[in-house]
């Protein structure tokens, strides 16, 4: 769905005049850097320290971010760790107050109409403890239903419905400490859906899950978007996940939005013949430099270190220039350094390739599970 079409449809049907489910204008958030100087550090603080704090003591987590997400859209926010994805989610969910700019969620101002923004949202954070492990799944959901101001009878029906939907009915009255990580994540998603919000914020929802559960969660996210018409903002650093699921994707790096488009259009920015990816084992530290010197016409040469113990070999990506001509040179260079080659691919662009081309930074060191 193109942005233009989305705007058009919304303008036609939205009575309140609001067009976007989520809209940020110049959203900016900065954090003061904390300096650790030891126990008696305050005694050592001098003028130089103060100057440094004034000049460099601020991390810009979000820098004038403008995003517009249409109703019903499944929107991905991709970026490496520390790029500002979670800060963005927190600003949207009213957990964090931005320093500058405005946030509107479901037509409500996040700073002035916080209750309505919260009632419009369901949030899921992956890989963390966000439920009461000493309570059962049903207890957890009933409790949060009260915080979403649902009436008891309605809450009971809804909880049963969600437990059924996530195939948790059989174990609904067991404490969460006896659940697997994947099952707990299902309860977290069920909690986000309790009040049937039009918008879901999913922050790394598959983080730390095994491949089976990840697939289930992804299928459910797709269903929520397609069957239930939810607007979904998904942050992830698994590019394949974003590629599979999202209508549109935004790249975020160091608090800046680098590009926004559909996955296919983004990938079209890197021509097929421009990509060479070689998986290698135990590459020497200087290999990236060596290959770069041999391929002066390549735009990007990047060594992405893997974790060989976990079955993820390292990868060398070469973007730009005549890829087919690069292959021979790369193989020769690797052989000279006695590097074992796992596989070699030419011309299969991924969102990661686009990200590397746009920012020079790598998106992630691991792939999708």
């Amino acid at each position: 769905m193109s942005l233009k079409m989305c705007v058009m449809l919304s303008l036609v049907v939205n009575k309140s005049g609001e067009v976007f489910s989520i809209q940020t204008v110049n959203l900016t958030k900065r954090f003061a850097k904390k300096r650790h100087r030891g126990v008696f550090g305050f005694l050592r603080r001098n003028q130089l320290d103060r100057d440094v704090i004034e000049k460099n003591g601020v991390t810009v987590a979000l820098n004038k971010v403008n995003i517009k997400i249409c109703p019903g859209e499944l929107f991905g926010l991709l970026g490496p760790n520390g790029s500002g994805k979670t800060t963005m989610i927190k600003c949207l969910s009213t957990i964090l107050i931005p320093d500058e700019g405005t946030v509107r969620v479901n037509g409500f101002d996040a700073q002035k109409e916080t209750s309505m923004v919260r009632a419009s949202l369901g949030m899921v954070v992956g890989g963390e403890r966000t439920l009461y492990w000493k309570l059962t799944a049903r207890d957890n959901l009933m409790y949060f239903a009260s915080l979403y101001k649902m009436q008891r009878a309605h809450a009971k029906r809804r909880v049963d419905e969600l437990l059924e939907m996530f195939h948790l009915s059989d174990r609904a009255d067991e404490r969460l400490e006896d659940y697997s990580t994947g099952m707990r994540q299902k309860v977290t998603i069920a909690r986000a859906l309790l009040h049937d919000p039009p918008i879901l914020l999913l922050d790394e929802p598959t983080l730390g899950l095994d491949p089976g559960f990840s697939r289930q969660i992804r299928r459910q996210i797709r269903e929520l978007s397609e069957k239930h018409g939810k607007t979904v903002l998904l942050t992830t650093h698994y590019m394949d996940e974003a590629d599979q699921l999202c209508d549109r994707v935004a790249f975020i790096n160091s608090g800046n939005i680098v590009a926004v488009d559909t996955p296919n259009r983004l990938k079209a920015r890197v021509k097929e013949k421009e990509i060479v990816e070689v998986t290698v084992y135990s590459p020497p530290a200087d290999i990236e430099e060596r290959i770069r010197s041999l391929l002066p016409d390549a735009e990007v040469v990047k060594l992405i270190l893997g974790d060989e113990d976990k079955g993820n070999p390292s990868r060398i990506k070469i973007i730009g220039g005549a890829a087919e001509e690069h292959v021979g040179t790369v193989i020769d260079a690797l052989r000279q350094k006695n590097v074992r080659i796992g596989s070699l691919n030419v011309g299969v662009p991924t969102l990661e390739d686009v990200f590397i081309k746009l920012t020079g930074a790598k998106l992630t060191e691991g792939g999708m599970q």
């Binding site: 769905m1 109703p71 107050i97 915080l147």
Partner: protein
Amino acid sequence: MEKNNKDYRLREVKCPSGFTWANVKAELRAIWEANVKAWKIDFAYPVSFVRQLISPVVFMIPYLLYGLVLIGGTYSENLAQLVGTGDVVAFIFTGYIMMGFIGTAVWAMGFSMRREQWFGTLEAIYVTPASRLGQVLGMALHSTVHQGMGTLIQAVFIYVTFGLGLNMSGILPALLIFALMLFALYGFGIVIAAVSMILKEGWIVSDSFYSIMTILSPVAYPLTVLPTLAQQASAIFPTAPALIGMRTFLIYDYVPEVVGNVFLHLLALGIVWIVFGVFVFHLTDKYVRKKGILKKY
């Protein structure tokens, strides 16, 4: 990707807000559910639950035994000169009731938000439209009942082992004073809950206030033994006037002027602490959202 079957418009959400009956009902239910949740979590730790029930007895015994050894009996001539009664058992018991409820305010309420941080659920609570104050008040409800049970056990124990003599007709008015005191104490508890959220070592705040309030309340001694400045400082905490009022009904001879002053004092403290508590809580709420320190503990 074309998804023409979708309904592309903003959806109306229904959520009671503002000063409406529906919203008050919803917020009260949230407080009740926070209380129920606290009970369920308590029952998940049975040893801790039982220990907390008997702790009022455990911590009162030293005050009693030490007091009895000091004077070689249950009657203190000096105490009688200071307050009009020399019955140290009744004096310590009535005083010690207060210790438990000070603990309720500074520990249970003061730590309610911190506990959520520890469980990892604070952010999940923050994204709901219910007031965060509900968490603190839910915990207040839970721990008041919990502490009340402990006090009952304490009363039975002291009656059986040391012989407790109280003026039974004074129990109802004493409870009224107690309820007024709780109102002010909970305002204080809300302040602690707010402050402990922004300080990394929140337990130090709770423990410090607990210790200071204990010293400035006439738990095991009358206020007259404190330095003048400390006596004046004790007036800002509700426990001091409440103890004077309760002891008037339960142990001492009834003096209408004293009781009248106590009621007025507690009423004023209640209003001030609640208003101040809610104000500080909202300020802190904004501060943690501005600084992004909700998750840190």
